[in-house]
Amino acid sequence: MSDATKLPLCLPEHLRRPQRRAKRHGIVALAILGAVLAGAVLLPDGALSVNAATRAQPPQPAHLMGTDLLGRDIAARTLAALAQSVQVGLLAAGASTIMAVVLGLAATFGRMADHVVGLLTELALGLPHFVLLIMIAFAMGGGTAGVVVAVALTHWPRLARVLRHEAQTIAASDYVAISRALGRSRLWVARHHLAQPLVPQIVAGFIVIFPHAILHEAGLSFIGLGIEPHLPSIGVMLSESLREIMAGHWWVAAAPGLGLMLVALTFERFGEALRQLSNPAGEEA
């Protein structure tokens, strides 16, 4: 009757499915990423400029997502803002991934290192994520650099834990012991036995961090601690939209939020699919 009884019958397909799914989600996510970045570059000159003649117009053929109080086209501004967010997100997620790799692997270098990394993890997880983000962004004086550092310093613990666990499992395995016994250096072992199985994990980790990075970036920019307000960014657009919402201009908030959600969504799905790929049993666990 239920899927539960059918499940074992379709196991071979079930094993193949995650790979195809990951590929499909990956293509969608990268296509959107590419479209955003290319679209922002291809924006015609003056697409972002102020125009007194077209203030606060609802969506219409000339302005698909309407215009704001200064007559700026919201679709164009959203595209530019998304490109900005995506770049900051990629940078921040990349930095965070590097931190996770360094700290995750460092934890395998003896008990002392493991303790220190454990301590840092406790500290990083001890405050609510967003509060810690605010503190770090404040310490950096706000701005794009502040966002990148704040996101990088707060998103590593989960991936670091996974990597530490994997690395310790591998380090304790027979083939590493044999390699060491054969006189291979630590570095050789690390490169051959550690790097290969870990790379997919790292890539998946990066993809999982990325949507969080752009969402948190938008949050910080929204409260004025993120990307400088003169650069187009989703957080700033949404914070500006607040006052227009009260006048009934709903379209001012629609496009930026939708765009951000779309990018975050596709990458979240992609990351999830990748995670299942590297950990097939994990789907139901």
């Binding site: 102020v50 007194a52 203030r55 701005g143 006052r243 009260m246 006048a247």
Partner: protein, 521 residues
């Protein structure tokens, strides 16, 4: 001004018995002091201090009149103020206000390290119950603006919780303050200023957006709104645009680039704007009316100085703008000609080009920079608008032109902006302007024997017939516009005559709150 309707309403209201459920007044104009209502820490700078009263106050025409003080004199050497207090002033707890309270307030504020700058005060002394003496360390006439803004607190009960439970001799007493939400006040029965038409006044804080939402549901009677949204007032409310000295202008680097740098290592000087002909031509060319229309949607007025319409403004120092022909003549005479035919003038191989920096987050300043740039291109000056962050502006403001804004009810701003001693200090004299004659006028103004006497010196600093900081003289700035501050006001509310507002939109409108009236039943 004769207002038949409001006069009749007041007359009617006097004849009617006081209604138990008189309509409370609800204001959404921001201005919540996070730190509370302690004048010693800086509360009550603009607008009505609500709970406290001050020694002097400005009337709607910005003339000084007495409030707690009945008369006041400044000693010949400009060092000692002696003020005689009215005898009937009482705090809202029913205790009388004496000279001791005044001396206590001034001495405490001087030492407190808050937002009331009394560094020039040496000592405040009570001579008897109604006479107080304030001794300064040096003559400084702008000290009167402290007399008009520092609310007096009771010496007997002032303590660490004063900011949250203020007691004063002002028109209102606090009923409830829910921080971040609203302040509710009621008339102080002991106030010396007369009757107030509202049984209760609520100040709704929260966000600017929240205020607009309240206006649309008819729950707020006065709401501060951004000018760009102002025209669409909800039903039952009218739009009010208040004239201000909340101004915007182009601040010029005044010195040549000689390789000097600030303490932070940023360059000083700009060889183009250091040439007076350039600065004067820019002032002659700018069509300020067009800038008001472009950047402010018409809600503003042209600016020709830092304090247009205030008593210390010198109207003679202004020159009419929108005269490209005169501007081009000035440039020709000054040696700036277009030799290579690219539309931009040169002088000795130097192009008439500079950046115009504006904080890119500020769309008004952006529009001003873009508009000015377009106008200047027509006279052959290449002003390149450049949106930046405040940090970048802070680094470049000594060597490039910046769109800055000022506007205070206090002439010491004129001093800070133009005196050589303030060259490169904070955002004051960013251009490193120094003219000994102007400095002397500014110092003479501060040393004047009375505020009225100082006005002539302030005006002379702008233009004394030969030199000055104004457009006719050294043209240190090209002032462009004064913003309007926009409000939605209930059709039933009469605000009476209004001051020219300072920099800062919102709370300053409450200055004459005790005399506001309902006009309908």
């Amino acid at each position: 001004m004769f207002r038949p309707l409001s006069t009749m309403a007041i007359a009617l209201s006097l004849m009617l018995p006081v209604q138990a459920d008189a309509r409370p007044l609800v204001l959404a104009i921001g201005g919540e002091p996070d730190g509370g209502f302690d004048p010693i820490m800086g509360w009550g700078h603009y607008g009505n201090p609500l709970f406290q009263s001050t020694l002097l106050r400005y009337d709607a025409g910005l003339n000084l009149i007495g409030d707690l003080a009945e008369d006041w004199i400044l000693s010949e050497d400009g060092l000692v103020w002696q003020l005689r207090l009215r005898g009937d002033a009482m705090f809202s707890d029913g205790t009388p206000l004496t000279a001791e309270d005044v001396a206590f307030t001034y001495n405490t504020a001087r030492a407190a390290g808050g937002l009331a700058d009394l560094t020039v005060l040496k000592e405040a002394r009570a001579l008897d119950a109604t006479t107080v003496e304030l001794e300064l360390t040096e003559p400084r006439i702008t000290f009167v603006s402290r007399l008009a803004t520092l609310g007096i607190v009771p010496a007997a009960s002032y303590g660490s919780d004063y900011a949250r439970y203020p007691v004063g001799s002002g028109p209102f007493k606090m009923v409830e303050w829910r921080e971040g939400e609203q302040l509710v006040v009621e008339p102080n029965p002991h106030w010396h200023g007369g009757a107030i038409a509202f049984e209760r006044v609520s100040f709704v804080f929260g966000s600017e957006e929240a205020g607009q939402a309240l206006a649309r549901t008819g729950t707020a009677d006065l709401v501060a709104v951004p000018p760009s949204l102002a025209d669409a007032a909800p039903s039952g409310m009218k739009v009010l645009h208040v004239d201000t000295v909340d101004n915007r202008g182009l601040a010029f680097p005044m010195v040549f680039r000689t390789g000097g740098t600030t303490a932070a290592g940023t360059p000083i000087g700009n060889d183009v704007t250091a040439d007076r002909a350039i600065r004067v031509a820019i002032n002659q060319a700018l069509d300020r009316e067009a800038l008001v229309a472009l950047a402010l949607n018409g809600h503003g007025r042209p600016a020709t100085g830092p304090a247009d319409g205030l008593p210390w403004d010198n109207p003679e120092a202004a020159i009419p703008g929108n005269d490209p022909a005169a501007a081009m003549e000035t440039l020709e005479t000054g040696g700036w000609t277009d030799t290579d035919g690219d539309g931009i003038r040169e002088k000795d191989g130097l192009r008439a080009a500079f950046q115009v920096l504006y904080p890119a987050s500020d769309s008004t300043r952006q529009a001003l920079a873009l508009g000015a740039s377009d106008q200047l291109r027509e006279i052959g000056i290449d002003a390149q608008p450049s949106g930046s962050s405040w940090d970048e502006i802070g680094a470049l403001m000594h060597s490039e032109v910046v769109v800055l804004g000022w506007g205070a009810h206090d002439p010491s701003e004129i001093f800070y902006l133009h005196h050589g001693d303030y060259a490169g200090v904070d955002y004051y004299n960013t251009g490193h302007y120094a003219n000994p004659t102007v400095d002397a006028h500014l110092e003479a103004a501060e040393a004047a024997p009375s505020f009225d006497a100082s006005l002539a010196e302030w005006k002379a600093a702008a233009w004394d017939g030969e030199t000055g900081f104004s457009l006719k003289g050294d043209a240190t700035w090209a002032w462009m516009v004064n913003l309007d501050h926009s409000y939605w006001v209930s059709d039933c509310l009469d605000l009476g005559p209004l001051q020219v507002h300072p920099h800062g939109h919102g709370f300053p409108i409450t200055h004459d709150l005790p005399s506001w009236r309902w006009t309908c039943e």
